[in-house]
């Protein structure tokens, strides 16, 4: 094909933009580093290998939740039911293990429960077109009731050794859970960045109507995303019960709020199309560090929620400020 003759000369693009993009992406990294260094200086107990590994281990389940939430938010939605879905799955898993079922079966059962509820969320959001907020709030209520009813009859302790290994075991001195985390990180990273699924996901988050016109199967992808989030949630809570060796009413402690918070900290927004797995990692780490900082520095844990709120605001405002300069207009419509 021969080239089109150059006629058009209009071009309005400030050079500053490339720089601002980098600033936006690394600003979170900077926040994390600042926090990290501040803590290392403020408290000697912080900067030990043991403590760091411990923190890392704690953050893996949170990472899974945050990653799942990030994926959902990247499509322009939100999932408020993640915490309870995971809790329910985990309690089923605990009961199954107690019952003597093989571990691999129990784990699959747990993941299946998570994906089941995820699919339900996806169906309601994609096919019946109900606002994800309301949908997942509703499913959250339902699952919470199920959970309450189920948990009443059983609090389970003393889970089988091999299962617990995932939570607290070590391989070559490094907690096994970190390997689990790395494994899932790799899968999600690959999924989001090197598959057509990932590309379609971002397209839907940016503009679902344009994506539909491009021939993307919007419904199918949305359902899959919510299913993945459900699976992540189940995996996360299974790791938690493996760590604490208990499946009781402490299981549901506002995980979904932490997940959203972590996702926001990691760069996702409710408007969609932004949000990466790397971001989820950083968001998780910032969140965990924040929590730890509050502990170590003797700040009353009661103010931690307040701090979380302020941090959310600061992060969102910072985003908005950078965005204003870079002038990104969101144009997603269903």
């Amino acid at each position: 094909m021969s080239k089109v003759n150059r006629v058009s000369t209009t071009l309005t693009m400030p050079r500053r933009i490339a720089f601002s993009n980098i600033v936006l992406r690394s600003s979170r990294l900077i926040v994390f580093l600042v926090l990290f260094i501040a803590m290392a200086i403020a408290s000697p107990a912080f900067f030990t290998m043991r403590n760091l590994l411990n923190i890392l281990g704690q953050s893996i389940p949170i990472f899974l939740l945050v990653a799942g939430e990030t994926l959902v938010m990247a499509t322009g939605g939100v999932d408020l039911s993640l915490g309870v879905t995971g809790a329910l799955s985990a309690s089923f898993v605990a009961a199954s293990l107690r019952h003597g079922n093989p571990i691999w079966l129990s784990i699959i059962l747990g993941l299946a429960v998570g994906s089941f509820f995820g699919v339900i969320n996806g169906l309601i959001v994609a096919k019946i077109r109900i606002n994800p907020f309301i949908t997942t709030f509703g499913t959250r209520l339902l699952i919470l009731s199920l959970l309450n009813w189920y948990m009443r009859s059983s609090a389970i302790y003393d889970l089988p050794e091999p299962f617990r290994f995932l939570g607290i075991g070590r391989i070559g001195g490094i907690p096994a859970i970190i390997f689990v985390g790395l494994f899932i990180f790799a899968i999600l990273y690959f999924l989001l960045n090197y598959t057509t699924f990932g590309r379609a996901l971002y397209a839907i988050g940016s503009n679902s109507l344009a994506s539909r016109i491009s021939g993307i199967k919007v419904e199918r992808i949305l359902i899959t995303v919510y299913a993945i989030a459900g699976i992540m949630s189940s995996a996360a809570l299974m790791l938690i019960i493996a760590r604490v060796n208990a499946a009781d009413t402490r299981l549901y402690e506002g995980h979904e709020l932490n997940a959203i918070l972590g996702a926001l900290l990691g760069g996702a927004t409710f408007a969609g199309a932004v949000g990466t797995i790397n971001g989820a990692v950083i968001g998780t780490l910032i969140f965990v560090l924040m929590r730890n900082a509050i502990n170590l520095l003797g700040v009353s844990p009661l103010w931690s929620t307040f701090v979380s709120g302020i941090v959310v605001f600061l992060v969102v405002l910072m985003d908005e400020g950078v965005r204003r300069r870079v002038v990104i207009r969101r144009s997603s419509k269903h």
């Binding site: 094909m1 058009s8 057509t196 021939g215 002038v327 144009s331």
Partner: protein, 515 residues
């Protein structure tokens, strides 16, 4: 000239009511108005015409206070004023009836009429009965007998449009701005509107009439100003103006210069619609498209051309009829299947339907071709980059990199990105809906060149456009639609602009080109 005549002239010379000078307005990527000027006398109906994207709505909105100009001055009664908000404009007696109406469907007619300037009781509360009494009065003086307590959403679109116009008169209006006021009106209602406008003239109210319907403009306007790509081309008195002159001013160059169309070498049939009917939308639409051909689809707003396109593409269902693609009959489809079948759809609203604004050029180009380029589901970023670069090169897309967010590109460049998206999928049938809407002339020509290349490669193109010169210049054949039905079919060499326009309006004229 004797003394008496001179005196008469002085008496008859009307003072300039409104003057706008040097108005400049920039939006990201495009200069919407470049040194625009306007002069308006009391009792004058002044039309603003131009193609889509010429800047007429922008100028109107600046005068109404909705947009603030980057440069320029506005004078009323000789005094310079600054209009900082719509409310200030309203207070000064400038009011606008918007193309999009901008009314509130859940409120009554009366509430809508007095929105922003409600009549209040002594206590400061809104005086609902007074508002509706006044509304009834106003409606009656304009010859409209509607109950002001009716909810706006219960009215037809035409009635709602009338309400929008009436609202603009409730402000002690001296300058009335109408933006495409007749797009939803029947002929009967248009005549009624023109009666009202004539009455307003006698009251000394000046009217700015923004429209792309030239026939109407010539019926009602005293003078016509033509805009093209944000610049003033000229102002004509109604007595001097006719369609051809104005069209030439709107387009700006000889049609043959601008549209490098070559004769088509037809091949097989690509698309055929047989008696497509959708209740309330279109009726018995028959058209066909061949490979290597550009077929234009012309019509006024409301002719349902986009609906037909959406039906072809599977975005809307239809009740009767058949669609044949590449000779094979296809049943109900959806966009996913249409893309797989080789149909591409460049929509009218590229910002909301064509592009993912905060994704990169690269992502927007490959978005429709994901399955085609990467059948296994795994992406090779290298290939993405190569493909994107290929189209950026071939279509001369002005972007510093493949990762640039499309938001920052100019309108013409954005449109090229959308085009690339469809070319990349290897579409054999492309529906282009107003492809040069809101694009500068240079980019327009480039797009026409692209279209020519495509048909040379055997693509069939359905060109939907309200831009007469464009349709005449680019199409091999032209279908005209009017209110959901096919009103005529023309061959390019055998027709003139007036034939097509008349057909679209509905004035009966002999059709030479019938096939």
């Amino acid at each position: 000239m004797d003394k008496q005549d001179r005196k008469n002239m002085e008496i008859n010379k009307k003072p300039v009511l409104l003057r706008a000078e040097g108005i400049v307005k920039d939006f990201p990527g495009v200069r919407a108005l470049d040194d625009a000027n306007l002069e308006l006398e009391a009792g004058e109906i002044h039309a603003l015409v131009g193609e889509n994207g010429a800047g007429k709505s922008t100028l109107a909105k600046i005068l109404a206070g909705v947009i603030s100009p980057d440069e320029g001055k506005i004078y009323i009664d000789g005094k310079e004023i600054k209009i900082r908000s719509p409310r200030e404009a309203q207070v000064m007696g400038i009011a606008m009836a918007f193309q999009e109406l901008n009314l509130v469907p859940s409120l009554t007619i009366g509430s809508n009429l007095f929105l922003s300037h409600e009549l209040k009781t002594i206590g400061g509360l809104v005086d609902i009965s007074k508002i509706h009494k006044e509304s009834k009065k106003i409606l009656l003086t304009l010859g409209l007998d509607i109950d002001p307590y009716t909810k706006l959403s219960d009215l037809s679109i035409a009635q709602q449009q009338m309400v929008a116009i009436v609202r603009a008169l409730t402000f002690n209006t001296r300058i009335l701005i109408l933006d495409e006021p007749t797009s939803s009106l029947t002929n009967f209602e248009i005549n009624k509107l023109f009666e009202i406008l004539k009455k307003l003239k006698t009251q000394g109210i000046a009217i700015i009439y923004v429209s792309h319907r030239l026939e109407e403009v010539f019926q009602i306007a005293d003078s016509v100003t033509v805009l093209r790509d944000g610049k003033m081309v000229g102002t004509l008195e109604a007595s001097e103006a006719n369609v051809n002159k104005v069209v030439v001013m709107m387009v700006g160059r000889e049609i043959s210069d601008m549209y490098p169309k070559k004769a088509a070498i037809l091949k097989d049939e690509a698309l055929r619609l047989v008696n497509i009917t959708k209740y309330g939308v279109c009726e018995e639409v028959n058209l066909c498209l061949h490979q290597g051909e550009v077929v234009g689809l012309y019509g006024l707003v409301g002719a349902s051309r986009t609906d037909v396109a959406r039906i072809i593409f599977g975005m809307e269902s239809y009740d009767k009829g058949d669609i044949y693609i590449l000779g094979k009959k296809v049943g109900r489809t959806n966009p996913n299947r249409s893309v797989a079948l080789g149909i591409g759809f460049l929509t009218e609203d590229r910002k909301n339907e064509g592009l993912c604004m905060n994704l990169s050029v690269k992502q927007n180009i490959i978005r429709a071709s994901l399955k085609k380029l990467f059948p296994t589901g795994f992406i090779n970023p290298g290939s993405e980059e190569v493909v994107a670069k290929k189209y950026i090169d071939e279509l001369n897309i002005a972007t510093p990199s493949t990762n640039q967010l499309v938001f920052f590109l100019s309108g013409g460049t954005q449109q090229k990105v959308v085009l690339s998206q469809w070319i990349c999928t290897g579409s054999k049938i492309m529906i282009l809906d107003e492809p040069t809407h809101g694009i500068d002339v240079g980019a327009k020509v480039e797009i026409y060149q692209i279209i020519n290349r495509l048909v040379k490669d055997g693509v069939a193109i359905l060109l939907i456009s309200s831009d007469l010169p464009e349709i005449l210049g680019m199409s091999d054949r032209i279908y005209v639609m009017r209110r959901g039905r096919l009103a005529g079919e023309f061959i390019r060499e055998k027709c003139v602009a007036e034939d097509i326009v008349s057909c679209a309006i509905g004035v009966d004229k002999v059709n030479d080109a019938a096939i």
